[in-house]
Amino acid sequence: MPKRVIWGAGVLLLVMAAAYASFYVAPTERTMGAIQRIFYFHAASAWAGMTAFLICFVANLQYVLGRKQKWDWIGVSAAEVGLAFTTVVLITGPIWAHPVWGIWWTWDARLTSTFVLWLLYVAYLMLRSMVEEPDRRALLSAIFGIFAFLDVPLVFGAIRWWRTQHPQPVIMGSPGSGLEPTMRKVFFFSVLAMHALMVLLVSERYRLEKLRGEFQELQREAEAG
């Protein structure tokens, strides 16, 4: 059996184990009840997404400095996967909020920052779709990607600061603060599982991009011959 399938099965098992832990190992939260269990999925996705964007940032730097195609491929793969994880955060957040607070969206600091993060990387992908020539596309999106990632701490910082001056109901609470020890262990296990999933998805997406590169090479050969 090819390595990939084994790896994929391993990630799937890890993820299912984390889900199991979220429901049966972690204790029920006092105030919110069972709905709080979404937290393990929601927050772990957020962390994995952010790591994906960090990978994208490193890939962008590598491309700008070395101009090796593979870094462009890693960059776009990590950005797309990061966007997928961020989308999950934005979907699970309101689903969590609605039963607890009766409203879907609250402009809670972290969720709002995540929304801006999402918009930044959507912009990254849109930029890529607007530049045809592969090398130019790689360079321009790498530089925008660098700017976008540098902006991330500023976005999170500004929004959090702003929110402390105009407080709103804090729904999610902060992970790690007021997390009971068992909860903390389940949380970090979930983070691990989501990161494994992230790496798997990035590598799959990278394979597609690499294949595209191969295809374009062959096309050039065919035209030349």
Partner: protein, 47 residues
């Protein structure tokens, strides 16, 4: 369990996103691999 439907919805939609992403990548990879094989074959034939 209270709010079971919300928990269910969250997990369903969340995992849905990952599945859709994975399936889309897998589909495109398979299609592209087919194209690459075709192109390789026609190139070696030409040579």
């Amino acid at each position: 369990m209270k709010n079971l439907d919300s928990i269910f919805a969250a997990y369903l939609l969340g995992w849905g996103v990952f599945f859709v992403f994975y399936l889309s990548v897998a589909r495109r990879t398979a299609a592209l691999r087919g194209e690459v094989e075709r192109l390789k074959a026609s190139l070696t034939k030409g040579k």
